[in-house]
Symmetry: C2
Subunit: 415 residues, 2 copies
């Protein structure tokens, strides 16, 4: 199966001077590769006509099947994408009647919403209807239409950079390409493991043949995930995929084979049982609660909890005995257990998860180094505490502590 | 003043197939542009030798002053950076004695830490000492040394992609370049405003001449920031900068002219007064506590608080009267006030900050739409609640709610 090759160009000086982090490039790459395209380039370029033209020519010279351009389609002087595409392809800009109608309609909406004169808005937006010759305008999700055109073997799309506009318009393009047979058939399996480490997975991959599969491994926070992709019409590939998944399941602690994250498995498990969770956090300062509530509907299973950053609050709000803290310290197995039990008692939730650790960079000692984290769980089954030492900086230690706490509950819910 | 031009190449297939979002590229771009370099390209490329070689040649063809490569310096078969640099520059790979010593030392450490045989580790790491001819090895912050070399006018650096290793090694490079006079003198002013909107700033920029300044505006979460940069030796530019800052201060609600974020101003203000903060969060689920504790040392000023996601926990842990919740609802001015006062009472902290709102996407109504957020503050001065309606998705509403709460406390601390 030949997989289409794609290139992405994201324009915006604010993405290169530290003001803003690009999110569109990652979104486009994710969407295209989820359908089976191979993304060869993601290029972030400033709002500079010469640079944009040179970049477009470089990307087109590799003759990708698909080139998606994001950003630079707006009403200000640094919105240069239409001009850059025209120059790169040596095509003139021409007013496109259908694009003109779209721009007029959207300008009228914007004028009404912002209390501006229609003529004043159109003065700045009219240029959005002047497209490189041969372009087809794409219906706008905001102010600016996108464009679609062909250049040799490459389908070129240019979309505005406002994230929700880009996402809406890209989804329509991907659906249309898919229904036209642009993407190859693709089977994908995601196997997620926890607690084993990358070397364990590497050993399995060395022992089990998988030359007809595309295999990608990611690791972080104690999780190692393996993504397998192959042609669903290739019987050998299907057999290899099944054998590899079976080997990973036999040799590593697999917790997900259906694509669900630990977050999702925990939420689904609580919901299925009609049970609830409360959290007690020290070094993570609320990030566990923040993560559990990332998804809509979390109020069905999450009641809240306590951020017991100071020892005083561990005593006051979680009834952790002062003597325990004095004897073992706040970063201890005993404190994690008492915090988890305390939050169950004060909240009335079914399960309690607690995190206490040394996130660093200061505060570490020989006995309690930076990265040492105790995660605790209390509830219907006996209280459990697990000790971790996470590598990385403060942000990583905190993120991984949250993941580890979720796994502790996942295991209890699955047993 | 001529500003050095930089290009960045980040390698890693996992950054192009949706598995992981690049953070190194943004970090490198931020660090270089903060010193006055102009970043013309940030290119993310897969672990594919041909693509990497083509990309390196493309970036070098523009003759940048600086090319920073991140990633692909490790022990696995897809770590291709050294080979790609050698091929792109048509230089052979040669074992470098100093690099060999670094690799042996680091391999011994890794072997000891992971309980592996030194020879087994070195078998996979030895290739990290084979550098493109003319390279100088850079001391590793983890396993792999970096490299520095010159190619025509361009200083080329290649660094490992592990974020904390990259950051450490990049900081050393930037410091060395700076002490060698590589970066131009640069005066920078950052003026941060809250509550005014972008149009207000645009109007000021239209009215005040600033053609000798570089001006960049960013907006989000109610904040609009203006970054001014200029040659400190240009007297006209200095006058323009002073006049523009004065105009912004006169025409907009400026809260920071020294580069400090609201997070930092609040933390500094509390520390200076010897006061403490506690938080009571509903729709943000702990993100306010998470943000306050992002920085080391936050335990001096932050005691913790309550995540009162359910109404039951608002009553149990914050003593919010059930009648109040029944009458006004959990998303109300009254609830925000009661939560802020409640968390001060139960925690003993000087100040309490509360957040309650409709983060969406569901749960909105005509009277209480998605994005409606009340932030409340209680403490030594009379309790205050502010009503916001934030645009954007669930994640944005929650992030902006946290920012708005911090501003409420900032204003109280500065009055």
């Amino acid at each position: 199966v030949r997989r289409p090759r794609a290139a992405i160009l994201v324009s915006g000086s604010e993405l290169l001077d530290g003001r803003r982090r690009d999110t569109n490039g990652h979104h486009i790459a994710s969407q295209l590769s989820a359908r089976g395209a191979t993304v060869d380039h993601l290029l972030v370029a400033p709002d500079d006509l010469d640079v944009l033209v040179a970049d477009l020519r470089f990307l087109l010279a590799a003759a990708p099947d698909l080139l998606v351009v994001s950003g630079g389609l707006g009403s200000t002087h640094d919105d240069l994408t239409l001009r850059a595409v025209a120059d790169a392809l040596a095509r003139p800009l021409r007013e496109h009647p259908a694009a003109r109608t779209m721009v007029e309609e959207r300008s009228a909406v914007v004028a009404r919403r912002r209390g501006l004169r229609y003529e004043d808005v159109l003065e700045h937006t009219a240029k959005l209807a002047r497209l490189p010759l041969g372009s087809v305008p794409l219906a706008p999700a905001g102010l600016a239409p996108g464009i679609a055109l062909r250049e040799g073997p490459t389908r070129v799309y240019a979309l505005p950079g406002v994230p929700h506009e880009l996402e809406t318009m890209l989804a329509a393009i991907v659906d249309e390409l898919a229904s036209g047979g642009f993407f190859p058939p693709l089977a994908e399996r995601v196997v997620r493991t926890f607690g084993g480490g990358e070397l364990q997975i590497a050993a399995i991959l060395e022992a089990v043949s998988h030359e007809r599969l595309e295999v990608a491994v990611t690791a972080g926070g104690g999780e190692v995930s393996v993504v397998l992709r192959h042609d669903p019409g290739d019987a050998d590939a299907c057999r290899q995929a099944a054998a590899l998944v079976a080997s990973i399941e036999a040799g590593a602690a697999v917790f997900s084979v259906d694509g669900r994250s630990v977050d999702r498995i925990v939420a689904d498990g609580l919901r299925a049982r009609g049970e609830t969770l409360a959290t007690a956090e020290s070094c993570t300062g609320g990030l566990l609660g923040g993560r559990v509530t990332e998804v809509p509907g979390s109020s069905e299973v999450y009641v809240g909890g306590v951020v017991a950053y100071s020892d005083d609050l561990k005593r006051r709000l979680l009834d952790v005995p002062g003597g325990l803290l004095a004897q073992y310290g706040a970063v201890s197995e005993a404190a994690a257990a008492a915090m988890a039990e305390g939050v169950v008692a004060v909240s009335g939730a079914t399960h309690g998860l607690a995190i206490t650790g040394v996130a660093g960079p200061a505060g570490g000692s020989g006995e309690k180094p930076v990265g040492l984290v105790f995660v605790g769980r209390a509830g219907p089954s006996p209280t459990e505490v697990r000790r971790h030492v996470f590598p990385g900086d403060r942000a990583e230690v905190r993120r991984w502590a949250v993941t580890a706490a979720l796994h502790l509950l996942r295991e209890a819910l699955s047993s």
